[in-house]
Amino acid sequence: MTLPEAAGWPGPPGRWAGAGRVAILVRHNLALFLREPGPLLSRLVQPVFLMLLMRPLYVAALARYGVEAGTSQVVTGMLVLFSLLALSVVGGAIMAERAWRTWDRLRATPARAGELLAGKAIPVFVLLAAQQVVVMSFGAVVFGLHVRSVALVAAAVGCWALALLGLGTLFGATLRSQSELQVAYDIGGVLLSALGGAMVPLTTLPGWAQAIAPVSPAYWAMAALRSALLGQAGPTLRAAAVLLAVAAATGTLAAWRISRGWARSRLL
């Protein structure tokens, strides 16, 4: 049986139909974020304020390495800590779609799973990267943080934002409620940040903590950002490659769970 010859039925989709759907979804998701800006704003205001308060402490703690070491530690540390906490914005966006049951509605449209994820991911990536750029710029302008290679810093920020995106999507697609999500972000965000050397310099952590620090993505984010500030291409790219691997692994797992229907609304 074939489609009846009736006026108004959809013809075959155009060549750029997929790109058009992604653009529609990006616009839609950006609007959703901007209508509830509170969580994102708090993740912007808090690091800036804490940097102002805590810089003297970090500079004193790292005095033997020079003032720049303390400034670099407070800027990259706060950036990593609060970008990890901003994971709640990412996962919360997916969890909200599940709670509103709109995710299944989107899945029932002609949009591919990849288009739905891209429509969700692109605005989030932009917002996460913007958060990091604001924190880094604040450090450069107010504290005189010396950025030796803008290109390397941009690469580190981009790779870290991608890793955050993957982690946040995986949490949002896996956990079963907003409270589970909140616990995971609060505990996970703080623990991973601390273990990665974002709260206190890695060299001051206990030996056992230093030994397991590389299991935390925050460790690699700190390494990438610190090396990028110093203009060291090799270490920056090595750490950025680990972050990309984290992004690929978590993003793939999240997409797989979503495509298998494991992130469906009724499982909430």
Binding site: M1, P10, L32, A108
Partner: protein
């Protein structure tokens, strides 16, 4: 237009679909009735591609829905049972979002959104966020998002549950018009009078399969459920 054959879907020991077979032709409104747990919603979700059956086949307009689910979704208008809207997004934005994802653009999208808003009596609330709508307005908005783009197969899963008479009248009018234009409609419901009003054929689902199929006359239901009393009851 829709041919589902021998669908089986199990969840552990539960057979949600058990050799479920249903054919719906272009222009036909097929009322799918049956108790809760009979497999109605599972069937809709299988056709939509949200879940995969363990066995059986589904074709829509000749396209294999299990092998090409995305191509089939180009042909579907789906209204799920539970209201699913974005609280902070306005009615107009909902219509543009779902119309756009269905492939409508610019002037065609504006025209289609305006028409369905008028038919579903939503014109006055186009600028209102869904979170501020009344229950009936939310139901109409949800249905409008499924109907904004012309589609050859409409899957409407209990679209009038909890709806006020205004919503029911508006929706049944649009569905009748779409079927008259050639769309095949699967309409799940517990309310037989609605099916009388729609002039629908009936499929009775029970324990995951279609236990009886035919016109209302063939099933001996003619005259048992006149259309008007339901609305009158609701209005009262």
């Amino acid at each position: 237009m829709l041919a589902a054959e021998g669908l089986v879907k199990t969840y552990g020991r539960l057979r949600a679909l058990d050799e479920f077979t249903l054919h719906v032709t272009a222009g036909e409104i097929a009322g799918l009735v049956g108790p809760n747990g009979a497999g109605k919603t599972t069937f809709v979700e299988v056709v939509t591609g949200l879940i995969r059956p363990d066995a059986g086949s589904v074709t829509v307009g000749g396209i294999d829905a299990l092998k090409q689910p995305r191509a089939v979704r180009e042909l579907l208008g789906v209204c799920p049972q539970e209201t699913a809207l974005y609280p902070s997004v306005t009615v107009a934005e909902h219509l543009r979002l779902f119309g756009g994802l269905a492939g409508l653009r610019r002037a065609a999208l504006r025209q289609a959104a305006g028409e369905i808003a008028e038919l579903m009596q939503l014109t006055d609330v186009l600028g209102k966020p869904a979170g501020l709508l009344s229950g009936g307005q939310r139901k109409r908005t949800q249905a409008a998002t499924a109907l904004v783009a012309p589609r050859p197969l409409l899957l409407l899963d209990e679209p009038t549950v909890g709806a006020d008479p205004l919503t029911r009248t508006a929706l049944l009018g649009v569905i009748t018009a779409r079927a008259a234009a050639g769309a095949a409609v699967v309409y799940t419901t517990h309310y037989l009078p609605e099916l009388a009003e729609l002039g629908a054929t009936i499929a009775v689902a029970r324990a995951g399969r279609v236990a009886a199929r035919g016109s209302q006359a063939e099933l001996g239901l003619d005259g048992l459920f006149p259309a008007e009393p339901r609305d009158a009851d609701d209005a009262a």
